[in-house]
Symmetry: C2
Subunit: 491 residues, 2 copies
């Protein structure tokens, strides 16, 4: 099995060296991720292999380590094969070889014999191949800026593909397809109704202004389309409940577009703050999401328009902070939510900046938290979690500084040095490598759930709609407190 893994790595290296006409910057970047992913350290980390042992070991012991990791190789290989397949899809090679009965014939005409040889040997190791008919076909409803990022993610996730796009204007949709290099096979619609009627669309990604969510998400559910809905999910929880009811009664999966929840760093931080010895009880959480809007943004952007994204910075930015607090508290709802008096609104009454506090429990599970969101301050996206025995800081929790890895700081058991002239420890930076960008991991997870519904008759997973609903409930509470002169709102 380990030979197969080595072969995968070798294949990735060879693919990297290809200079195909289709190989653009994204293809090269993608390949670099995969190669990075294929580093033995990464494989060990993925397979829960004791990574410290690896770090302290010289090259001579490499063989022993491979042997120790062998039990995990089956899964690794399967995952790695998926990556190679994705890469080849990027290079437009998948039609030529992977989906061909004799996969290597045409491929070998274009590539060097080594690749062909590696590939044919690897085919035998392949499990549950992702044939084209198994990919979840996405329709993108609305050509917002964020849709560019998600379109790329849909095409880089191993189990999905963009099948169609729609805008209210056909020209805008055609332009979107051209600018983002979508293949000609992607259908382009000038109406949301048309894309929802397309039987080749399994799921929709919906980056529409919040005020349009209820109408189009309910219609999509009625058309049996699974729904990935941009945040904030709705103007209030009553609207969201109508959307969720429609999803439930039509048996379709619902998920909101909070990408950061799918980054492996998020899971790693959760693991640490859940460790009673390392971290202890979560006492205090602070989270910010700010971005300094230009004059044009503050005058024209849909996020500050009362008829489009009426929740302003609360919906666009605090959604993340609220989601982060709930995530850290295992989705227990706070008992009290209160806005602070520093609310700034524009002339139309849309929130540009606000701060709020949240409190959980009165007994052993007590936690307090503060959040701050603003369109008026420099970019920040911090979450700081303070426990009895440790503290964690993440400074880029919503969008990591870079795509291929993300880090956070952990301090545990910090004491002052003799005479209190320093600390006995400094925060340790922990880096988490991600094989796919967080948005592609979100798409992959969503597509996995949709696939399970389609192929195995599974029920839609209730975890994701519940997360969205709780976030919306708390956001509503902040809004209510703002609207009632910062009175506390009890949940």
């Amino acid at each position: 099995m380990s030979k197969a893994i080595y072969r995968c790595i070798e294949l990735l290296r060879l693919l990297t060296n290809l200079q195909l006409p289709q190989a653009n910057r994204m293809v090269r970047e993608r390949t670099m991720y995969l190669l990075q992913w294929a580093r033995p350290e990464r494989i060990m980390a993925t397979s829960n292999f004791p990574i410290k042992e690896l770090r302290s070991t010289g090259p001579a012991s490499r063989r022993r380590i491979w042997n120790l990791a062998a039990p995990h190789f089956g899964l690794i290989l399967q995952e790695m094969f998926g990556h190679i397949q994705t890469l080849m899809k990027w290079m437009s090679l998948d039609q030529l070889c992977l989906h061909n009965k004799n996969p290597c014939t045409k491929f070998s005409q274009r590539c060097n014999p080594s690749i062909s040889s590696h590939l044919s040997q690897l085919i035998s190791h392949r499990r549950e191949p992702q044939m084209a008919e198994n990919l979840i076909r996405f329709g993108i409803v609305g050509c917002a800026e964020i849709a560019r990022k998600v379109a790329r993610a849909i095409n880089s996730a191993p189990n999905s593909a963009v099948s169609a796009i729609a805008s209210r204007s056909l020209d805008k949709a055609l332009n979107f397809a051209a600018v983002n290099g979508l293949p000609e096979t992607v259908k382009v619609y000038g109406s949301y109704h048309q894309i929802l009627d397309d039987p080749c669309v399994d799921a929709v990604y919906m980056p529409l202004p919040t005020s349009l969510h209820r109408r189009w998400a309910i219609l999509a559910a009625e058309k049996k389309k699974h729904i990935l809905l941009e945040k904030p999910t709705a103007l209030d929880v009553e609207e969201l409940d109508q959307i969720l009811d429609a999803c439930e009664s039509n048996g379709v999966q619902f998920m909101d577009g909070s990408m950061w929840l799918h980054h492996p760093r998020t899971a790693k931080v959760k693991e640490i703050i859940s460790d009673p010895k390392l971290f202890g009880h979560v006492n205090y959480i602070h989270s910010t999401s700010t971005t300094s809007g230009t004059k044009q943004f503050l005058e024209e952007n849909i996020r500050v328009k009362s008829d489009l994204d009426a929740l302003g910075a609360l919906g666009d930015l605090a959604w993340y902070c609220i989601g982060a607090l709930l995530w850290a508290k295992d989705y227990e709802l706070p008992i009290q939510v209160r806005a602070l008096p520093d609310v700034t609104k524009n002339k139309a009454g849309v929130i540009l900046s606000c701060t709020a506090t949240l409190h959980w429990g009165k007994s052993s599970n007590e936690t307090s938290a503060t959040i701050h969101c603003s369109f008026l301050s420099h970019t920040s996206m911090d979450i700081t979690i303070s426990g009895t025995h440790g503290s964690v800081n993440v400074y880029d929790f919503i969008i990591p500084y870079q795509e291929t890895s993300a880090s956070f700081d952990i301090t545990s058991g910090a004491k002052f040095a003799e005479l209190h002239i320093g600390w006995n420890t400094k925060p340790e930076e922990i880096e988490v490598v991600n094989e796919l960008p967080q948005e592609a991991l979100m798409i992959a997870e969503f597509s996995r759930l949709v696939q399970a519904i389609r192929t195995r008759g599974s029920c839609p997973d209730s975890k994701w709609p519940q997360i969205s609903r709780k976030t919306q409930v708390v956001m509503d509470a902040v809004k209510k407190s703002i609207d009632t002169d910062c009175r506390p709102v009890y949940l």
Copy 2:
């Protein structure tokens, strides 16, 4: 002049190599600071020399750089000579040479001729030498744990020395002197009255429990002792005003023991957040000060006793956070202060943990802030300042991780990369080297002011008592809000 600087550096190097019996760990560490301080880069930074030019310059241009920096050399040399003197004081060499009319005679008997030669040539460059009679003589009133750190600072600052110590118990005072290696010339008293009556004590450092501050600080002022008072300065501003009145009417200097304000990092951060282009308007500040008290601490420490430090975590920890907010806001008082409902108290009603919000202005100078302090959470001392164009994070603002340098993170002009798949920049870590620990810099500043009063008849500097008073006023407001069920308090 630059030759003299080179000579200083060389002398420091030679001193480092000495293996004198008195050379303990602290001496070695101290010498390392000085050598670090003596790096050309550091000298340039101190003298406002354009450091970027130096970094981009090869060794060939060194000569040109020295010439450019020449105008600053007078001051640098003077400061460096002070450092050498401090070092020799540490090594118990000062009695042998610097304060001797023929300084090099005895010194050369013990040290190698190079040191002696360097020293004798340097004497000619010396300006305003700090003779023993010019050192500010400190009496330490109370042998608290923190007094150990401050005693060391008094003896390492260039213009001060510990002259006497006092405890209510003579045994405790004797033990303190022995444990901390104080010279036999230091007088030891078993009563606070005695030390205040000692005419050889110019100034007192007073690390007593807060409830004793009013009585002893007023008495010290009446005895014409300058006062360095540990924080929190008093139980409330009425008490503090009585202390400050006593200082003013007796013409003595007052300062509280907030060491971090004296670290050069603090000035550097201030410079950055005051830069309109780099940082813009300060919109939001968040600061925490937490430490996880052991069971014993939470039961027995004076900081949780209602008759000793009745303000608990608010006085001991939030003092720093409040001070940091006021510092960031150029000591403008907030208009509103409000505690949050997460207050935790012990059975005696002493605050163990609390959170509060502060708001400034309603117009262009609006700022909001949150602070959190706790004896129940893992060590943290963060201040995050969020401006229109930049943000700054300091994670060890009260006690830096290490003594010799401290850093902070600055991000300015951060935007998202194309497709929002990352950032265009990451926080830059800026390191600030400090020639003396922050507590020694505090002592040096306090002693400088006392010296000016003594030798030039200057008035006591009103800056430091004003800072203490504003901090106390805001602390009182948080306390009042806590005591009135979290009602807002308007200032």
